[in-house]
């Protein structure tokens, strides 16, 4: 019950922020030259002004900006995200189609990055100053410094074009009619390269944070005490040090979940995945205000939810935090 209350309180506290973001974005887009009809004209290679007028009326762009904003907020209060100009159907539907892809990609890459970064970080901390640590730290730096699209393209060149092991892009094979496990495996095969690409960069961050945190914790008094009690080195690392070193990791997880939502535009484009990042990019280019605001709305809620879970995790990892609250 307390958790539910906490969740509601969190949501209420984020509402003004959410509203500010939406209004700010709306105003920002008013400053961008051109509207969705201009984008449409560009796409169809021109047209006469009568058509443009007709379309502006159709998209509700003939009203003054203040009226448009008022209408939007009013609709939002009724949880109606409006119609998407690009796809001609409700924004909620468009986002619902894309959300699973982004969540799947984000979930798998975050998990991979977190688990991989944690284990490698621990390994690096345990062997600090020796060759495994040097190799891991160097590799981490290389991954961190390399742009993700390059990773993605190189992955395609090696594993899809040269070796032919994995598909070059897309979410699944089209028109196979497969269902159940077969489909799941097919999607998994398509997601190997994008997940790796997205995960590698974040993995590097986790690795470095984990290594530093472990080094710090391993020097604390309670670890010395544990060792003095005669606890084995593995048990010290896992039971005593790791749990304490995880706190900064969880903080970063919460922060990065937000970045990953937006940061996957590149990966989604390179691998032709129908996710939220590409939809957001497309909405900006096409000046599709409703869709863009809808994505921001959904993303903000996701980030709030993830950070709420992170807060709960803090309490679980370090009961002192709950006691203080």
């Amino acid at each position: 019950m307390t958790i539910l209350l906490l969740a509601l309180r969190r949501l209420a506290a984020s509402l003004p922020t959410l509203l500010m973001i939406l209004v700010g974005l709306f105003l920002l887009l008013q400053l961008a030259p051109g509207d969705t009809v201009d984008a449409l004209m560009a796409q169809m290679g021109g047209g006469d002004p009568a058509t443009a007028e007709e379309l502006r009326r159709y998209y509700g762009l003939d009203l003054p900006a203040a009226a448009q904003l008022g209408r939007y907020v009013l609709r939002l209060a009724q949880l109606d995200l409006g119609m998407s100009a690009i796809y001609g159907k409700p924004v909620a539907d468009v986002i619902a189609e894309r959300l699973p892809v982004t969540l799947l990609l984000m979930g798998s890459s975050l998990t991979l990055a977190f688990v991989g970064g944690m284990s490698l970080g621990v390994l690096a901390a345990r062997t600090v100053g020796r060759w495994p640590d040097t190799i891991l730290s160097t590799l981490g730096l290389v991954f961190y410094a390399t742009p993700s699209f390059w990773f993605g393209l190189m992955g395609i060149v090696v594993f899809a074009i040269t070796l032919g092991w994995l598909p070059a892009g897309g979410f699944e094979e089209i028109g196979t009619g497969a269902g159940g496990l077969e489909r799941a495996l097919d999607i998994a095969r398509h997601l190997v390269l994008p997940t790796m690409t997205l995960a590698l960069i974040f993995l590097a961050t986790y690795l470095r944070v984990m290594r530093t945190a472990m080094l710090e914790v391993l020097n604390l008094d309670f670890v010395r005490t544990a060792r003095a009690k005669g606890v084995g080195e593995t048990a010290v690392t896992i039971r005593h040090a790791l749990r304490n070193a995880l706190l900064p990791m969880v903080t970063i997880l919460g922060l990065q979940a937000g970045t990953m939502l937006g940061g996957s535009v590149v990966v989604e484009s390179v691998f032709a995945l129908p996710g939220l990042g590409r939809l957001a990019y497309e909405s900006v280019v096409q000046r599709d205000l409703n869709t863009l605001l809808g994505i921001v709305f959904v993303s903000a809620i996701l980030v709030i939810a993830i950070n709420f879970v992170v807060d709960l995790l803090y309490g679980w990892l370090d009961p002192r935090i709950v006691a203080d609250r």
Partner: protein, 529 residues
């Protein structure tokens, strides 16, 4: 042998090789799936209200036009079987094909043509609204006859050439009485074509399956066509190389990749089958700017830019210097002339001096703001090339980078530019979408029209006369005069003349066999196993 000849030779070799193989009796293979890469999604999949190659490349397999081009580029029957114009040019009678049914089983009749022409082409279709502005009525004396009645003479050749693109017929029973722009058939098209729409997954693909009741007997050969949306150009090339897609039309790949794939034996890279869509790199002058209102300054700028150098070094030799707004592929109108402004920096400097703009401090005469309209990857390259070229004759150029929607609004609505560069697309007849670049009186805000503050009574008269001239020879002569006039005045300079490129797997057969193939119906196309 330059690159272009080489390309032509390769094309010819591939053609003869193909023909030879056919002669050895390789039979047509039925079945199979043709996958096509597209680099962008369309909001609407209805060619009766949206004229754009991006729409045609999908929907022309599902819906059909009254006419299309044949292999020689002449109008040929599709849903219309014959046509006849009255001597005054105000009435054109189409006989329609018998036994054609819509994908939902209803018969195709003249009522569909009547409805589409008056309610869709005339009201909503971009370029169609202009083409059909004088269309008063479409009479339907019987289910297989449609009589188009115009208030002013309509040249038959203009109408037919335009109808290849602007003549797709939509089902009346689906659209009548609904809000046309919101009709679900706009994204789930119902047509008479060789393939039936089956599925559209937003952000992923569109799929269409063989229409077993197609009016062309035994066609089509393919079981299915899948259009995949792959936005990233490098990823699109990878998809082609791994066989995930078999063809990519209309320059959807990077020019560098197209150049590389040219020497790959698995693919054909060519403009064959896309010749009907020629385009130019343009340079538009805002003549409200004092310096640019002087024709000598505009001519000097044209002389200062080495177009052949740009073509050879920036766009892999894919094009040639334009001789005017009518491309050489448009044989019915092309006045065989030379590029009007050869590269000549000395002459450019002399013209600028003569116009009274002497080099001041730092050797600079004046500064201009250049807005690139990002139609293709070559536009920013050309913008930089223009900037550097003009620097050498003492004109400083500042490039204002905007995305396409922003650039269109800035140039054509706000007139907030000095010079602009983008593409002009030619659509079969100068009257469809070319003369509007020069004719005065376009309302403010109409993209790709004369928004440069430039006006010439002589040019306006030539444009109007040619649009209603019924005699093809006299029309051609009028357009030749018009080309000469606009070349002399250059409110817009057509710099290059280019065609689109397609990259296609050699497994695809009977492909690119007529100039509108990219926007064609593909009823005779098949794929090797």
């Amino acid at each position: 042998m330059n690159r272009r000849d080489m390309l032509a030779a390769i094309g010819a070799a591939a053609l003869s090789a193909g023909a030879a193989r056919e002669a050895f009796g390789q039979a047509v293979r039925r079945g199979g799936v043709l996958t096509v890469q597209l680099n962008g999604e369309q909001r609407v999949l209805n060619p009766a209200i949206r004229a754009s190659t991006g729409v045609y490349v999908i929907t022309s397999k599902i819906m059909e036009s009254l006419v299309d081009l044949d292999a020689a580029g002449k109008p040929t029957p599709v849903l219309a079987t014959s046509w006849e114009a009255a001597p005054d040019g105000k009435t054109i009678t189409f006989k329609l094909r018998e036994g054609v049914t819509w994908h939902d089983g209803k018969p195709f009749t003249s009522a569909d043509v009547q409805y589409t022409a008056l309610e869709l082409w005339k009201k909503y279709l971009n370029y169609g609204t202009q083409l059909q502005q004088n269309l008063e009525a479409v009479d339907t004396p019987d289910p297989l006859t449609a009589v188009f009645r115009y208030s002013r003479p309509m040249p038959t050749d203009l109408l037919l050439r335009a109808l290849c693109d602007l003549g797709y017929v939509a089902p009346r029973h689906v659209f009548e009485g609904t809000n046309v722009l919101e009709n679900p058939a706009n994204t789930a098209p119902i047509g008479t074509g060789p393939f039936k729409f089956t599925q559209y997954e937003r952000g992923q693909f569109v799929m269409a399956d063989r229409n077993p009741n197609y009016w062309r007997k035994d066609a089509p050969y393919l079981d299915r066509i899948v259009w995949r949306f792959i936005v990233d150009k490098a990823a699109a090339t990878a998809a082609l190389e791994t066989g995930q897609v078999l063809t990519s039309e209309y320059n959807a790949l990077a020019l560098a990749d197209l150049d590389r794939l040219k020497s790959d034996p698995r693919f054909t890279v060519s403009n064959r089958g896309l010749e009907a869509n020629a385009f130019n790199n343009t340079l538009e002058f805002n003549t409200r700017r004092k310096e640019l209102s002087d024709v000598r300054v505009r001519q000097a700028i044209a002389h200062a830019i080495d177009v052949p150098f740009f073509i050879e070094n920036f766009i892999y030799g894919q094009g040639k210097p334009a001789t005017g707004p009518i491309p050489s592929s448009s044989t019915a109108f092309y006045p065989d002339t030379k590029p009007p402004y050869e590269f000549d920096a000395k002459r450019a400097n002399a013209l600028l001096d003569e116009a009274g703009y002497k080099r001041a401090g730092g050797g600079i005469r004046f500064a201009l703001k250049l807005v690139p309209i990002q139609n293709g990857e070559d536009v920013p390259l050309l913008a930089t090339f223009i900037q550097q070229s003009l620097q050498t004759v003492g004109i400083r150029v500042e490039i204002v980078n905007l995305d396409t929607a922003g650039a269109l609004a800035t140039v054509y609505r706000d007139w907030n530019f000095d010079i602009a560069t983008g593409w002009h697309q030619y659509r079969g007849d100068p009257a469809v979408s070319t003369t509007v670049w020069y004719r005065s009186g376009s309302p403010k805000g109409a993209p790709w029209t004369n928004q440069y503050g430039w006006q010439s009574d002589a040019v306006d008269k030539l444009v109007d006369d040619a649009a209603t001239e019924l005699d093809p020879a006299r029309r051609k002569a009028l357009y030749a005069q018009w080309v000469k006039a606009v070349n002399d005045e250059i409110p817009v300079w057509m710099m290059t003349e280019r065609t689109f490129l397609a990259a296609t797997s050699k497994k695809v057969r009977n492909d690119h066999n007529y100039p509108r193939w990219g926007s064609g119906d593909w009823h005779d196309t098949w794929v090797e196993a």
